[in-house]
């Protein structure tokens, strides 16, 4: 066991864990942040995607010890994020989820795409989201939701730099 100093959702946290524990395991099992879901546990499904230092990252492919000195945001910590608010609304309106297992990872990844650019076509969304797997086959709604969120941000002239993200 080792003592880790992590920054999760803006809070400095000390947690005792084994070096082999992934960030996802620490979030879920030691910190009860169960909004981060674990599907495949080897980087293929994207369910566990979180934000590490402003970059979408598979929480199953980064050890908790590797996250020391970095800022981690989970779906819980992005509650008041302005892009997330827009995405949540369009996911709701487009029925972009069914069981919800993949949704937190989908939202974190979609937020990164929108931070990068709001000028996107369907192909860009499909390629950008290709690493996020939905087993309810709800991709049509997800793609539509992200395109609509991008359009709303474009129309309102919102970009990541204006939002100070």
């Amino acid at each position: 066991m080792t003592t880790l100093k992590l920054n999760i959702n803006g809070e400095d946290i000390t947690v005792v864990a084994e070096p082999r524990e992934s960030l996802a395991d620490i979030l879920r099992e030691r910190l009860s942040l169960t909004g981060t879901h674990l599907g495949c546990e080897h980087g293929a499904c994207g369910a566990c995607t979180v934000d590490v230092d402003g970059k979408a990252t598979r929480a199953c492919l980064i050890l908790g010890v590797m996250a020391e000195g970095r800022r981690v945001s989970t779906i819980e910590g992005l509650r008041d994020d302005p892009i997330m608010a827009i995405l949540r609304r369009h996911f709701h309106e487009n029925h972009a989820l069914q069981c919800g297992f993949c949704t937190s990872g989908m939202l974190v990844m979609a937020r990164e795409l929108l931070k990068h650019s709001t000028d996107m076509q369907e192909t860009d969304v499909r390629e950008g989201m290709a690493g996020q797997i939905c087993r309810c086959t709800g991709y049509a709604g997800i793609v539509r939701a992200i395109l609509e969120a991008a359009r709303e941000m474009r129309n309102a002239n919102l970009s990541a730099s204006l939002l100070d993200l």
Partner: protein, 277 residues
């Protein structure tokens, strides 16, 4: 799946990292972005007694633009190359290769040095760096050495790195201003490892044509016969196909009809793209 228990150390300097690796003995591996190594450990296809985290070492993050040569640190990520945050000696080729590796969430953490050290036969960077004639700068307890990436990778998941040696950076010659490059990749889905990946570099000043193929054998290789016939600017496709067929017979582990058609098509696409520029 969870990996079996291991120890973890995060050295503060390159010298300390090399010392830790040299003193630690067997079953110790360097960890950079972890995007290939951690899944292998989780699936228990690999096991390790200790991981030495080199991902944040300043010495592995350095970038130098020397005009004719660009040095890119081994711990630079695929996303940093994709976004043009480091110079691209391939005149756009490296950015394109980076953008098609796995998924963005993987590219945000995975590193160019990790990709080469892992030496997956279908990986993108070994093929690209061989096509660019890049050399790896390697540091160990006895000092440093330079090795062409084409010689560093010896076989499937096998390099000439000793267990206490690290790739620090790649020295990459800048392509000629009039160069033409082509890239073709076939994967089962966006983000999956390539079933076949070809890169063609043509008209690179005085340097010979390089057509490099990954996914066909145990490592990415420059196809010698294909590259040589390409020196001639007017060339019937039948001659090219014949040369590709002879190269494939040399480099492929198993020659079945589908694989030959797949690799031939991918090589021809990369060449056609380079020639169309």
């Amino acid at each position: 799946m969870k990996p079996a228990p291991f120890d973890y150390v995060r050295p503060r300097s390159l010298e300390e990292a090399v010392r830790v690796l040299a003193d630690a003995g067997e079953d110790v591996l360097a960890l950079a972005g972890g995007q290939s190594l951690l899944p292998l450990l989780a699936l228990r296809m690999a096991s390790v007694r200790m991981l030495v985290d080199i991902g944040r070492l300043g010495a592995l993050r350095q970038v130098e633009d020397g005009g004719d040569n660009v040095v890119i640190g081994a711990a630079v990520t695929h996303a940093e190359i994709e976004d043009g945050r480091v110079p691209d000696p391939g005149r756009g080729l490296m950015k394109r290769v980076a953008a098609r590796i796995a998924y963005r969430a993987i590219r945000n953490q995975g590193t160019i040095g990790g990709s080469v050290a892992m030496a997956d036969p279908a990986a993108d960077w070994p093929a690209c760096l061989i096509a660019l004639e890049a050399k790896a700068r390697i540091v160990g307890p006895k000092g440093s050495r330079m090795v062409p990436v084409a010689d560093l990778i010896q076989d499937i998941y096998t390099t000439s790195l000793a267990r206490d040696e690290l790739i620090v950076a790649f020295e990459i010659p800048r392509l000629d201003a009039r160069v033409k490059t082509g890239l073709a990749k076939v994967a089962r889905k966006t983000g999956a490892f390539a079933m076949s990946l070809a890169i063609a570099v043509v008209d690179d000043g005085p340097r010979a044509v390089r057509v490099v193929l990954a996914g066909a054998g145990s490592r990415a290789v420059r196809l010698p016969m294909t590259s040589d016939v390409m020196q001639s600017s007017t060339l019937p496709e039948s001659v090219l196909r014949d040369a590709i067929g002879r190269d494939l017979a040399q480099s492929m582990d198993a020659t079945d009809d589908y694989a030959i058609r797949l690799h031939s098509a991918v090589v021809l696409r990369a060449i056609a793209e380079a020639r169309s520029k």
